[in-house]
Symmetry: C2
Subunit: 82 residues, 2 copies
């Protein structure tokens, strides 16, 4: 069944404490290849049947209204993955 | 600066309680376009300078060893995003 992937990230201007924690862990493990780490959420919405324009529009709507908190997060991707 | 996106999802054979909770919320909101919802994590690793093969290999390594718990999660993507 086709899947729609919705990616949600914390707004870039906000501090990302989880990301900072992972950066700290990288430093302790001697991993220095990455300047910064930010952590968000990835939603996989399974669709029965075909992904029509209406289904995609519904995915965008729930991404903005249900799956993310527009005060602190941005929806950075809504993508159909076969 | 280039970014490497690491996507981590719960193993498909495992129950995803968070996903089920969102499915329940969809049902209460009258959203019926989606048969199932699964929720994972999306990591954005910022790289200073160029993304060399070594940097990408390091991203794959930390994805498997630090950013995911191989008992309950799968790394489903390690991708360079300019």
């Amino acid at each position: 069944m086709p899947t729609i992937v919705v990616d949600v990230m914390p707004k870039s201007e906000l501090l990302d404490p989880q990301g900072k924690a992972v950066s700290g862990a990288f430093a302790r493990l001697g991993v220095d290849a990455f300047a910064d780490v930010r952590i968000g959420k990835r939603f996989e919405l399974t669709v029965e049947g075909e992904v029509t324009e209406d289904v995609l529009a519904e995915a965008r709507r729930v991404a903005a209204e249900v799956l993310s908190n527009s005060v602190i997060e941005d929806v950075v991707g809504v993508e159909v993955v076969e």
